[in-house]
C-alpha cells in the first residue's frame, strides 16, 4: 500500500486517471470536467445576495445562472479530494507563501497575497472571456477536438510562459 501514501504519483498515472474519469463523467453525467463556470456562478450568487434579485437579469447571468449545479459540486469535491490526498500522504500544511516565490520575492505575506489577488482577477476574467479554463478547454475541450479549445489551451501557455519569464527572468 506504499502507493497510497506516496507524496507524488507519476504524471502519466495521474493523466490516465483523469482521462478515465472523463469517460465516467460523460457516461454517467453527460458532462465534461470543467471548473471556471463555477466561479462565475459564485460571483453571481454573491452579487445577488448583496444587490438583490435584479442581478439575475444581467445578460451574463441569464446565460450562466447563479445556481449550484453539477460543476459547482465538482469543484467543492476537488477541495475535499485534494485535502484527503494531502492528509494521507502527509503533504498537508497551511502555508502562506510558496517556496519558489519566497526565494525570488521574499517571504512577505502581504506582497504575495496582493499579487495572487491580481493574478486571480486576470485568471477569472480571462477564463470567462475564453469560455473555459485549463480543465474545460485544456483537457475536456481538446479531447473533443474542439478548435476553440485548442486555440485557448495554446494561448493559455503562450501567455503564461511570457508572464512567467517576465516575472522570474526580468523582475526577480
Amino acid at each position: 500500500m506504499a502507493w497510497l501514501t506516496a507524496t507524488r504519483w507519476s504524471p502519466y498515472v495521474v493523466g490516465v486517471g483523469i482521462g478515465l474519469l472523463s469517460w465516467l463523467t460523460w457516461l454517467i453525467s453527460s458532462k465534461p470536467l470543467g471548473c471556471s463556470t463555477t466561479f462565475a456562478r459564485t460571483a453571481g450568487m454573491i452579487e445577488k445576495a448583496v444587490r438583490g434579485e435584479q442581478v439575475a437579469q444581467k445578460p451574463y447571468y441569464q446565460k450562466v445562472k447563479p445556481v449550484i449545479d453539477w460543476q459547482w459540486m465538482l469543484v467543492v469535491g476537488m477541495v475535499i479530494g485534494a485535502f484527503v490526498s494531502a492528509l494521507i500522504s502527509g503533504d498537508f500544511a497551511l502555508r502562506w507563501v510558496p517556496s519558489r516565490w519566497a526565494a525570488a520575492f521574499g517571504s512577505g505575506v502581504g506582497l504575495r497575497l496582493v499579487v495572487a489577488l491580481v493574478g486571480g482577477v486576470l485568471l477569472g476574467f480571462g477564463a470567462r472571456w475564453a469560455g473555459g479554463c485549463t480543465s474545460g478547454h485544456g483537457i475536456s475541450g481538446t479531447m473533443q477536438l474542439a478548435v476553440s479549445s485548442w486555440i485557448s489551451a495554446i494561448c493559455f501557455f503562450i501567455g503564461g510562459i511570457i508572464a512567467a519569464y517576465v516575472l522570474y527572468g526580468l523582475i526577480a
Binding site: 507524488r8 504524471p11 493523466g15 482521462g19 474519469l21 472523463s22 465516467l24 453525467s29 453527460s30 471548473c35 462565475a40 460571483a43 451574463y60 447571468y61 459540486m73 465538482l74 467543492v76 469535491g77 475535499i80 479530494g81 485534494a82 490526498s85 494531502a86 500522504s89 498537508f92 510558496p98 517556496s99 519558489r100 516565490w101 495572487a116 489577488l117 491580481v118 493574478g119 482577477v121 486576470l122 485568471l123 477569472g124 480571462g126 470567462r128 472571456w129 475564453a130 479554463c133 485549463t134 480543465s135 481538446t142 473533443q144 478548435v147 479549445s149 485548442w150 486555440i151 495554446i154 494561448c155 493559455f156 503562450i158 510562459i161 511570457i162 508572464a163 512567467a164 516575472l167 522570474y168
Partner: protein, 180 residues
C-alpha cells in the same frame, strides 16, 4: 432521490477523485505550475496530454456507439486567443488555475484561498459586467462556431485522433529522453 440531486452527488464524487489526482500529480503546488511555465518541469503538460490521449480515444468510441453526445464549445479568435492570453497572464501571476486552485485550497495553500480565490470570483464578476459590450464586439471577431479539427480538415475523426495521439506520445517520449 430525484435525478437532479443524484447528479449533484455524482458531481461531488467525481470532484473528490479529480482533486485527489491533481494533488497526487503535484499540480496543486505553485512551484510545479510556475516550473512548467518556465519550461523547467513538464509535469503539467505530461498530465494534460496523457489525459487528452485517453479521453479522446474513449469519448469518440463512445460517441460512435451512441453512448454519449459530445458538445465541443463554439468559439472565435477574439474569444479564445485574446481570452486565452489574459488567462495565461493570470495563470503565471497567480501560479494556480481555476481547477488546481480548488486543489491548492484543500492542500492548505493560503495564498490560493485568501488571494487567488477572491481574485477569480472578482474577475469572473467583472467579465459578467463587461459581457454585454464584449459579446457584441470582440467575442465575435473571427467567429468559427463549434468547429472541430476533423471538420476543419474535412476528415473522419480517427484520421485526426490517430496522428494526434501518436504526436503526443512522441512528444512525451522526447521529454523523457531529454530528461525533462
Amino acid at each position: 432521490m430525484d435525478k437532479g440531486k443524484k447528479q449533484l452527488i455524482w458531481g461531488l464524487v467525481f470532484g473528490i477523485v479529480f482533486g485527489f489526482l491533481l494533488q497526487r500529480g503535484g499540480v496543486t503546488q505553485y512551484d510545479v505550475i510556475v516550473g512548467q511555465l518556465l519550461l523547467e518541469d513538464f509535469t503539467v503538460l505530461k498530465i494534460m496530454l496523457t489525459a487528452v490521449v485517453v479521453g479522446a480515444i474513449g469519448l469518440h468510441l463512445f460517441q460512435r456507439q451512441g453512448w454519449v453526445q459530445l458538445s465541443p464549445k463554439a468559439g472565435s479568435w477574439g474569444q479564445n486567443a485574446i481570452g486565452g492570453l489574459i488567462f495565461g497572464l493570470g495563470f503565471a501571476v497567480l501560479g494556480y488555475c481555476p481547477g488546481t486552485i480548488a486543489g491548492a485550497i484543500g492542500n492548505g495553500h493560503l495564498d490560493a484561498t485568501v488571494g487567488g480565490l477572491i481574485g477569480i470570483i472578482l474577475g469572473s464578476g467583472l467579465l459578467a459586467a463587461a459581457y454585454p459590450r464584449l459579446s457584441a464586439g470582440v467575442l465575435k471577431w473571427g467567429d468559427f462556431g463549434d468547429l472541430t479539427l476533423p471538420k476543419l480538415v474535412k476528415t473522419n475523426e480517427w484520421a485526426v485522433i490517430v496522428p494526434l495521439c501518436a504526436l503526443i506520445v512522441a512528444l512525451l517520449a522526447a521529454l523523457e529522453v531529454a530528461g525533462l
